[in-house]
Subunit: 253 residues, 2 copies
């Protein structure tokens, strides 16, 4: 059994954000699996088989990757961003847990720049203090749990990254989340909608929390950041959003 | 005013995790500023001035970087990991807010692989579901706020990344945090202590939450991850920790 399985993060979209260890893994792969738009970011070459698949087939894709590696392939599963953040790494270990025959396969996870870090960098430093990441999709968890987490995250005064802010099935998730957060944070709290990060047509929009619910800008390829009570807007030709490192002079706990 | 200021993330320690855009910025820099151990990761060359400085001098360093860029330098401020996560990007925008004369300087933030993502990748996929990042240092915020956030993060059932788990001044922070979390999560909850990530002597230790308070492994160069109630351990020669993507069959909210 000389095959290997690598789960690699391609970063949010630009080759300038792909780490050298991920590039090396792609260059020596025999098989690359992943959601079709991510697989299409890999250049075809002789000796490499591309296995694009549909969204929502994560477990089947993970099982197929384990099987190909067990047969001796140098298999790479690609995710956008970081493979450990709402992406394929969990699916592979979930499949591995169900298939003990693959437990001794050499499996590596190679991290990538996840969307919230790329969005944060483009906008300034909104995640410069304690923060959390919440996936707004209710495909895999109940909406009541998402609401509970948003409420607690607001109470904790975390800056908040919202992954998958809008889905086809439930287009109102972001508006509901924004209205919930508005009950806990000032209406002027700076928010960021980042679309097509690192790709053609990238947009970074800074807007107050009061306008987030009504904004139509966020789509499935977006990430939304919501500031904490301390997050500040620095005006200028190119305005910036940042959360200070310090938290003294805090409001009563 | 043709100078530029770039705040760049070097990733956790290995050159294999430095993005191409960060490498390019370092290659064309005239001045590099940062905490001395991070600056020492940059190769000296003619035309490049290295400005290493001490820890806890973030604001002075940020102001100096703005000044050098305003004088025409191609200035890069380096952080370990991601510059937007408990690092220099916030300090630069804080300094910028206080110095309006620099507002139109071209300033870029280049993201990097932050420690929690590298640690997560090495251990499996413990951050595969909703999670938060909390800095355990009470240099810049009151300990009572940290306790409050830990309590709320536990209630939200986030996986939790603990940055700066141990400081010189307050060596018991991690034990206090672990004991607090133990009131909310099962003692067998998988935790990870990652030390010297991407550097010589890297260690990844998986241990139950019940053992975290008593562990002496974490130091200032470590990051600690604490699983959620759903986080699972996959046994094997190399055990893995992952948090499933899904959350149905959840306990009552």
């Amino acid at each position: 059994m000389t095959g290997t399985l690598t789960i690699a993060g391609l970063g949010p979209g630009s080759d300038a954000l792909v780490t050298p260890e991920v590039s090396a893994a792609l260059a020596s792969a025999t098989d690359i699996l992943g959601y079709a738009p991510y697989v299409s970011r890999v250049q075809p070459r002789p000796g490499l088989t591309l296995h694009p698949s549909d969204n929502r087939e994560e477990l089947a894709r993970a099982s197929e990757a384990l099987r190909l590696a067990a047969e001796g392939g140098q298999v790479v599963v690609v995710s956008s961003g970081d493979p450990g953040v709402f992406a394929m790494a969990s699916a592979v270990f979930e499949a591995l847990e169900q298939a003990p025959q693959y437990r001794e396969l050499p499996i590596r996870v190679l991290p990538g720049i996840t969307a919230m870090l790329a969005a944060s960098a483009r906008a300034g430093a909104p995640l410069g203090h304690d923060f959390c990441a919440i996936n707004l999709s209710d495909n895999l968890k109940p909406w009541a749990l998402i609401e509970k987490r948003l409420r607690l995250a607001a109470e904790a005064d975390f800056a908040i990254a919202l992954y998958n802010p809008r889905s086809v099935r439930r287009s109102g998730n972001l508006a509901e989340a924004a209205n919930l957060l508005l009950r806990h944070r000032p209406p002027e709290t700076p928010c960021i909608i980042a679309r097509n990060l690192g790709r053609a047509g990238e947009t970074i929009e800074i807007l107050p929390l009061a306008s987030l619910a009504g904004s139509a800008s966020a789509d499935m390829l977006s990430i939304v950041l919501v500031g904490s009570s301390r997050t500040r807007l620095v005006p200028g030709e190119k305005p910036r959003v940042y959360t200070p490192r310090g938290y003294f002079d805090e409001p009563p706990l």
